[in-house]
Symmetry: C2
Subunit: 347 residues, 2 copies
């Protein structure tokens, strides 16, 4: 059971350390944790946000526990050297094509969102975002046109097999939940989306029990405000998924509690909290590690099939919350270590 | 004073008719209204959503009052013939490159949004969306790759002059408001966005009084949920603007009140309510015409410099609302004609 631990920047190391304590406390047979450098931290040490050595560690493991990357003091670097490239590089190199972002409002925490409690409490959705294609990984560049004007350009595209495999991820997820899948695209404008929609419809034939609907991305952004409770599973492309999954997370309010998984074919996956590196509170012992701890639970479930252990962690977090152990992000006063202690005590 | 009136589909004709009544009641010197067919209605009559004759009417006028297009019974048509193409065609043919979408919560209507009243009541923002470029109008297509896979593709791009003119629209708008401009992009991933950001920074030198900030689109979607009151003017590209402006509108709740302008260089503009064709209530006399009436006010202000008349209309709408005249979308019971009457009576 070999797990890579990539703590990264900002609050990444602090929150990851607590998740590691939890994993170690479970007495998992053969547990081996291997640390690696990513993001701005890796750039400072090795001159690259995703060093070859890190990639090799990742490849030698069965899953990655990831903290956060991001460091605005490195914004001046060319894009290929910026911290975020570690994320993009890992996704591409390891074929992590399916990003799963569950969003639901935790009982007792309805007060934290900007949405009215009666709207927020109905949120229980899962966004399945494609991570390996779209305008993220197409050809791109800066050029000077014949008339001397500068132009920036990026190629957006999806091929049918890329859509098909994420469609299956979406339908399979829907089968384990409410059997409703909403595919989000912009087929009234984009050919990429037209292909996306066509393939979604093709794949739906294999899942007769799942109700497939289609929604334009602008309308989806509206519906996530108006009535997020209408969604069960949402499947969408890389760019739209980036926007909508962040919007949905904020609807929940308690971002310090939201975990995510980025999965490859098979059981390999990268698990990370959806909050970022939060440089403003980094190193102060203030960050809430619960989202990272819950990411570790997702890892045990998806990559190692350890459902019971995953539930143990999730119950311990829920119990700590129920006992009022809350980080600053949840309006409480508990620090990073204190929250880690509280979860450990309830394992 | 020659104005094209393109009513379009669904509730378009009903709401436009009320706005026309209001314009006619103002006794504007030399007012001439010229009707033209667009959208599904035009397709049914002439086989095209934007017939040449309609385009000629548009060109012969100084502004367009637009209803709505959209008709899902025509969804089976090839994209070039679908109702929405009327909108895209008018934008491109007439050089309508700057979409202005103000969003603010009307006093007394805080109860209509899904956001908590204390969050919603602070909303007073303007989204300036570029309308002539980006992935909307680049080359695009469907192809079969060498290995036989189908692929959909769309080219995203911005050239510096395209960004510069919308930057000026954004900065000028900020100068008339709170002097804060937030440019939204995805410069950590897209070269198109990097060029966008570079040009925004260049143009900012001409507006030393305006505070320019940059935000990634995923974060912008979050911040619009968390604290939409932080924004004054937001400037962004065509695709991100499509998503964020709809999200922002829904934050306001009362979509039946939101007007928009799509402006060319100079005074030419197209004015339309942001709600769509609402086929479910079309022809029933239930649609709220206030957003279209307010679009007519925007037209008088921007295209004809008639500030006093614009304010007269806006005050009349506000007075009708204050007197409890509300359409079904606002939780009231007033019908289309009744709301038109009420606004006319208060002009
Ligand atoms: C850091 C950035 C490149 C990344 C993305 O856009 O995918 C992030 O926003 C995310 O969603 O993980
Ligand atoms: C109908 C569609 C092509 C259009 C767009 O995406 O621009 C609409 O959503 C809008 O925002 O006016």
């Amino acid at each position: 059971m070999r797990i890579a631990v990539f703590a990264g920047d900002g609050i990444g190391p602090e929150v990851t350390a607590q998740a590691v304590r939890v994993l170690e406390a479970l007495d998992l047979p053969g547990l081996e944790l291997v640390e690696g450098d990513v993001g701005g931290a890796a750039y400072r040490k090795h001159g690259h946000p995703l060093p070859q050595a890190t990639l090799e560690i990742a490849r030698s493991c069965e899953a990655i526990l990831f903290g956060a990357v991001g460091d605005f003091t490195l914004d001046h670097l060319e894009r290929a050297l910026r911290p975020e490239q570690a994320v993009l590089g890992l996704r591409k190199e390891l074929g992590l094509f399916a990003n799963l972002r569950p969003a639901r409002v935790f009982k007792g925490l309805e007060g934290l969102t900007s949405l009215r409690p009666e709207v927020a409490q109905k949120i229980d959705l899962l966004i399945v975002r494609e991570l390996n294609g779209d305008v993220y990984f197409g050809e791109k560049g800066m050029r000077t046109l014949d008339d001397g004007r500068r132009q920036g350009w990026d190629m957006m595209s999806y091929a049918e097999d890329e859509v098909r495999r994420i469609a299956h991820s979406g339908f399979r997820a829907a089968m384990t939940r409410g059997k409703k899948l909403c595919s989000v695209d912009k087929a009234n404008v984009l050919e990429t989306s037209q292909l996306w929609r066509d393939v979604m419809i093709e794949v739906s034939a294999e899942y007769p029990e799942v109700e497939l609907t289609h929604m334009y991305v602008d309308n989806a952004a509206m519906q996530l405000v108006k009535n997020p409770g209408q969604f069960d599973v949402v499947v969408t492309g890389n760019l739209f998924g980036d926007i909508l999954s962040d919007q949905a997370s904020m609807c929940v309010g308690s971002i310090g509690l939201l975990a995510s998984a980025s999965l490859a074919e098979g059981t390999y996956g990268l698990y990370e909290p959806i909050h970022g590196s939060a440089p403003d509170i980094a190193g102060k012992g203030l960050a809430n590690p619960m989202a990272t701890i819950l990411s570790a639970a997702m890892m045990l479930r998806h990559s190692f099939g350890l459902e019971a252990e995953a539930v143990r962690i999730e119950d311990a977090v829920a119990a700590a919350l129920a006992d009022g152990i809350k980080g600053g992000d949840l309006g409480g006063e508990a620090g990073t270590q204190e929250i880690g202690d509280a979860v450990l005590a309830r394992l």
